[in-house]
Symmetry: C2
Subunit: 220 residues, 2 copies
């Protein structure tokens, strides 16, 4: 019975996600779903990345409680909406569908969705995104890919964040990359640092995202 | 329908947890449930804490995949069992009940359960524990209590870990403590560091746990 309910929930989510994907494609909006643990640095990544993107961007922030992240993004002069799941452990497609009308999609190039801080539950929920990013803080240690394999398997791009803490946290970056490659050989991997006074890899990330967005436009 | 199923699942879990609690009490075993994000340092905490505990201790390790954590605990000469949830985002009481026979409870003083790395989903699942510890890595930033309020509300003891990274990560420890106290004034708070070459607060933590274990014995 539990499985049946899950199946039906997932089918319903996938159907809504497909509708979101179609609508975004029609409006020419590229979309990204960012997944990571609590405190992996998802909002800091956006704060540092947004200035490098010459695009009309909109952001959906997911959290159990508080509007802090949407306030941080709004302070970057980028439209942001906060979804509070009120205890829920992930965003689902129905939540995204509900807030999409807030944005002027016709004038939007890129929609970034920051999921709830959780390395497990968001994995199974398609939000209609074109690109799924998994953000891993190296302060969490190097053993997370093997411990959360489904999450890394579903990633298009893995960002290794807080690269400046790797040595201090006894993390062997090459070994982390090898572990990711073993789980998901297709995933691209970039190193980033999103501290105000130590930014790294953000121009490279912006260029990669712009290339992906242009590739999709050419494809259409 | 979703709510009903959840209610029934939770009632079932609570009934099994109550049976576990009764059995452990009868056998004189004190039990702890440790909850924290991926990479908060749960296993490192145990590696550093166990030598300070003059007790017969047993450990249950929860992870989606790999037996790495149980291997690390076994290397401390402490009996450990690994539960792999195979995608599941938390431990539940039925899982604990299933593995309990592995241990010689009559010869065990303390059972420590390390939950799956997840700051959300383990919160609702009573595992029959006497004490619930939430371990927060300060490398996750200082804003986690307000963002995951239910988890901090359900904590008896909050450990602030990776205290050596607080300044580097721009975390104001006093502010984090105030935020926890606002959510849960009854929670005790201790600062710890569990790095091999920088250990802090572990003797204090061991003394606190021993006092709680003795207080419970006296109560009986």
């Amino acid at each position: 019975m539990k499985l049946d309910l899950n199946m039906s929930l997932m089918e319903k989510n996938d159907a809504i996600a497909a509708a979101i994907r179609a609508e975004l494609q029609q409006q020419g909006v590229y979309s990204i779903n960012i997944i990571g643990s609590p405190g992996a640095g998802k909002t800091s990544l956006l704060e540092r990345l947004l200035p490098h993107l010459p695009l009309q961007t909109a952001v959906i922030e997911g959290d159990l409680a508080t509007a802090r992240d949407a306030q941080r993004i709004s302070a970057c002069a980028v439209p942001a909406v906060q979804i509070n799941t009120d205890g829920g452990c992930h965003l689902d497609a129905a939540m995204i569908k509900k807030v999409l009308p807030v944005f002027d999609l016709a004038k939007t190039d890129l929609l970034i969705i920051e999921n709830v801080g959780n390395l497990v539950c968001p994995t199974g929920f398609d939000l209609g995104e074109d690109l799924r990013i998994v953000l891993l803080s190296l302060a969490e240690g190097g053993d997370k890919p093997a411990k959360y394999p489904a999450t890394f398997l579903a990633a298009d791009l893995v960002l290794l964040n807080k690269i400046d803490l790797a040595e201090l946290c006894d993390v062997d970056i090459a070994q982390v990359k090898a572990e990711i490659a073993q789980i998901n050989p297709k995933a691209e991997i970039l190193e980033v640092c999103c501290r105000k006074n130590h930014q790294q890899g953000l121009e490279e990330l912006a260029a990669l995202l712009l290339a992906k967005i242009n590739a999709k436009k050419t494809q259409e």
